[in-house]
């Protein structure tokens, strides 16, 4: 039986050095006993032993996660933690992937210990309450806290990062942490009486605690599971809990039963007049369209995406409907298909700002899927409803030629179905205007091979070039 001594309860470095030593000598876990505190006779041996440390006979490797978990587990008050860690270290030599097996007895235990430590550390970060002490030069903040495990050293760096420019101390029964704006130091445990007993801000804090509580939602269990009673004695707000619970039901009943009091003063405020005189008809039309709700999907979209471009444009290009990014930006052709469209325009020698651009349907139609929206093509009814706006736009712009991109635009402009291939040769719009057709730019994106993408893109550029020829500049 090998008895191994550690300097103190959270002596991780000591444990690691000696565990490495034991392992290299092949000492089995069941043959070791770990003790905290030095044995009298042992002191000299250990000191000299460290100087002449024999390098380990074989390379000891452990996953990095084991070391960080061991560092935490050692802060636990479970007396068996050193044995557990050595046993795991031993077993990891034969089974390096052991820690992933959460149902293994030892791994299960290790996970339970580290979980408890993580929680305790998190609660310490949350429930420490500093009290201000006015010193000669500057104020210091001191807190008294009783963590469940020996975690002061583990939890202190968080406060150092958060309050780097403030002097503070956290006193606990096991260890105390101090920060003087330069270095973090630790001293032995303290008692509650060594910490300040009050802070005048606490009245304000209690006032806040009382007011933010909603008596109509009493859920005591939800509170105690996150803020267990063991922490209450050091929380200045905790003495309010009992009285707040006691008065909650009465307050709620009072609110439920109370008849509304008559309004003392009539609310009269002046709102800025948002409606200015329309600069021109298209602006008025755009504003009117903004509140259109003729289709069932209008309420799901962000906004009406109306057409844009000069009202004297000779060429009008009509697409299908706005997509995700168009819906967000409120402008047509700004998404991925818009990029293809812009490139194709440039290749055809057309200027975007000389064309009136719009869509057959003005609202984005989609189904939500996780954090994205899946585009849904418009139904015939939507195309028919929305033709009202297209008609009005066309009446104002009166383009010499219209290019319909994709089947939806052709359907909207022609009034009845027509194949894209046929429409490309030219067709007549519902109002008698001349129209050509092309693929929708999104068709380029849908192709699975580069060759098909190139072919689609070329066809789009070709159709745009033809539109350019037939629609001389205004």
């Amino acid at each position: 039986m090998q008895i191994t001594h550690l300097d103190h309860e959270t002596d991780f470095d000591g444990w690691r050095d000696q565990a490495r030593d034991l392992l290299s000598k092949g000492v089995r876990p069941e043959d070791t006993v770990w003790r905290v505190g030095k044995a009298e006779t042992d002191l000299f041996d250990r000191l000299t032993g460290k100087v002449d440390a024999i390098p380990p006979v074989k390379q000891i490797t452990v996953p990095r996660s084991f070391l960080s978990n061991a560092q935490m587990a050692i802060c636990h008050r479970d007396p068996a933690r050193f044995d557990l860690l050595y046993r795991l270290l031993w077993r990891l030599q034969a089974t390096p992937g052991l820690l992933a097996n959460a149902v293994d007895n030892d791994v299960y235990r290790l996970n339970a210990l580290t979980k408890a430590i993580r929680r305790d550390r998190h609660k310490m970060h949350a429930f420490v309450r500093f009290r201000e002490v006015i010193g000669e030069d500057e104020e210091t903040f001191i807190a008294w806290f009783e963590p469940e495990h020996r975690i002061t050293e583990l939890a202190a760096p968080f406060f150092m990062r958060r309050f780097a420019n403030m002097r503070w101390s956290i006193l606990t029964p096991d260890r105390c942490a101090h920060w003087d704006k330069k270095s973090l130091t630790f001293t032995d445990g303290a008692t509650a009486s060594q910490a300040p007993q009050e802070d005048e801000l606490e009245d304000l804090w209690r006032g806040y605690y009382r007011s933010i509580f909603n008596p109509a939602r009493l859920k005591i269990k939800a509170m105690t599971s996150e803020m267990p009673k063991k922490y209450w004695k050091n929380l200045p707000e905790a003495d309010l809990i009992e009285p707040l619970i006691a008065s909650a039901r009465a307050l709620e009943t009072q609110m439920v039963e109370a008849a509304p009091t008559p309004v003392k003063r009539a609310a009269s405020y002046e709102f800025a007049d948002l409606d200015t005189a329309p600069a021109d008809a298209i602006k008025a039309l755009r504003r009117e369209a903004a509140s259109c709700a003729r289709c069932d999907h209008a309420c799901h979209a962000t906004q009406t995406v109306f057409g844009e471009g000069p009202t004297n444009a000779s060429l009008m290009i009509v697409g299908e409907q706005p997509g995700d990014l168009e819906d967000i930006a409120g402008r047509p052709f700004v998404g991925p298909a818009g990029e293809i469209f812009d490139a194709a325009l440039a290749d055809a020698g057309l200027m975007r700002d000389e064309i009136y651009l719009t869509n057959a349907v003005k609202h984005f139609r989609f189904t939500p899927k996780g954090k994205t929206r899946l585009h849904q093509p418009p139904r015939v009814a939507h195309i028919d409803h929305c033709r009202w706006w297209l008609k009005a736009e066309r009446a104002l712009v009166q383009p010499r030629l219209t290019l319909a991109m994709g089947a939806t635009a052709i359907r909207a402009l022609h009034g009845k179905p027509l194949k894209v291939a046929e429409a490309r040769r030219g067709f007549e719009c519902f109002d008698g205007g001349d129209a050509l057709a092309s693929l929708h730019p999104a068709a380029v994106l849908r192709q699975t091979t580069q060759a098909n993408r190139d072919a689609c893109y070329r066809s789009l550029v070709e159709d745009l070039s033809r539109a350019k020829q037939h629609a001389p500049a205004a």
Binding site: G97, V103, N165, E237, P260, A329
Partner: protein, 412 residues
């Protein structure tokens, strides 16, 4: 009004803010106070510094700048026609209060909202000014959540985004009709447009950050919103569809649901009842199911009756009871997606099962170690030593798993 103390003001303005459910302080960029003049850090994980007996956490100092408001939203305690006492903080007072609380480790930061006074721009400017004092004058590096006002100047909203960790606008009611009826001055299109602007600004920041590390951050913890449950007649199905739209359209980090709760001096248009807390809880569960468990709205609608989720059992169990042909699921073989559909198995448990089963066949006892309540799971799984046989198909399975009906206790 002149003699009102800081404590009285805080009590009025915290009381006025408590109907906003959001209190999260997580998901922002990592930073701390080292190398600066002030205080504060943010390390990814949010911290709840206290819990009140309503089970809600206190993470941020949640107050209104003022509870004076020119709007008259029926469900709101601060509506212009309410007789509650009014108060107002100045930006300086708020900044000092925030740092006073922060230094004592009471809070993670500030969640500031306001009633609308004078004009949307004026109100927004006051909120932004508070954040500006905190960030620039006091070098405060803790968490700031600002409410944005829909009709405020986009440049002010952009400034709010540069100063805050999170920005939010509440849609309040899931349908346009509800909003028109109960919040006549609010307009769902304007609220949505404001969210759309924020989404593109966040996207732009993320994009530019790839090229230039120094790009000023923009609401790194994203945007969120809140919907009130039970004030208008909306069904769960409508609430969930609205919420799915909002997540998808504006890449929201969270949609909060807040059971409509009786307020002092309530409007006569509203139901004077206890808040529907269980309904709120079920909606949250459904929200989680489709965000983290691969459910879609259609899955959820199968177990609804008249557009409402069952109250006595959770939506996942309700779904599973309707889909028994898909069970039992073999924990040793089933794909992760199917394990996530087992009632009682959460994402963490499923992750552990998937990695533990590489080391050997799992028995029922092993699964018991990785989850909370094996009794609830047993009818839906197979393990090395366990087959539920007829249990999965028993007609009284629902009764076996549903919590026993009990008389609500009135005593405390």
């Amino acid at each position: 009004m002149a003699s009102i103390t800081r404590l009285q003001k805080l009590e009025i303005l915290a009381d006025a803010a408590k109907y906003d459910a959001s209190c999260s302080s997580s998901g922002s960029t990592k930073r701390d106070s080292r190398g600066g003049k002030g205080m504060g850090s943010s390390e990814g994980m949010g911290i709840c510094h206290a819990y009140t007996p309503d089970g809600r956490c206190i993470s941020l100092l949640k107050v209104l700048m003022t509870n004076v408001c020119m709007f008259d939203c029926r469900f709101c305690v601060n509506r212009s026609s309410s007789n509650v006492q009014r108060a107002r903080f100045t930006p300086d007072e708020l900044a000092t209060l925030t740092t006073d609380f922060y230094k004592r480790n009471y809070i993670e930061g500030l969640f500031l909202s306001s009633g609308i006074i004078r004009s949307p721009d004026y109100t927004m400017e006051q909120l932004v000014e508070t954040a500006r004092i905190l960030r620039h004058k006091l070098d405060f590096r803790g968490y700031i959540h600002l409410k944005t006002i829909p009709d405020a100047d986009p440049e002010l909203i952009a400034e709010a985004g540069r100063l805050a960790d999170r920005v939010s606008i509440n849609v309040e009611l899931p349908t346009r009709e509800g909003l028109a009826k109960f919040a006549p001055e609010k307009d769902d299109k304007r609220i949505k447009s404001a969210m759309a602007v924020t989404r593109s600004q966040i996207a732009q920041w993320k994009d530019e950050r790839k090229k230039f590390k120094s790009t000023p951050r923009f609401a790194p913890a994203g945007q969120s919103t809140q919907m009130i449950v039970g004030a208008d007649g909306s069904k769960d199905a409508q609430i969930l569809r609205s919420s799915a739209d909002l997540y998808g359209s504006y890449k929201l980090k969270r949609v909060y649901y807040s059971a409509f709760s009786p307020i002092p001096d309530a409007s006569k248009d509203l139901p004077p009842t206890r808040p529907p807390l269980m309904r709120e809880h079920r909606i949250y569960q459904a929200d989680w199911l489709w965000r983290f468990y691969g459910f879609d709205l259609e899955d959820l609608s199968h177990s609804m009756k008249g557009g409402m989720l069952p109250l006595d059992i959770d939506p996942k169990l309700a779904w599973a009871l309707n889909q028994r042909a898909q069970f039992p699921v073999d924990v040793n073989k089933a794909p992760k997606e199917m394990l996530l559909r087992v009632p009682g198995l959460g994402t963490t448990s499923v992750g552990k099962i998937v990695s533990a089963r590489r080391h050997g066949r799992l028995r029922l006892e092993h699964v018991g170690r990785l989850c909370r309540n094996i009794k609830k799971i047993r009818p839906f799984i197979e393990a090395a030593d366990w087959r539920p046989t007829a249990l999965t198909d028993r007609s009284d399975l629902r009764d076996m798993l549903a919590p026993p009906a009990k008389q609500l206790s009135l005593a405390l």
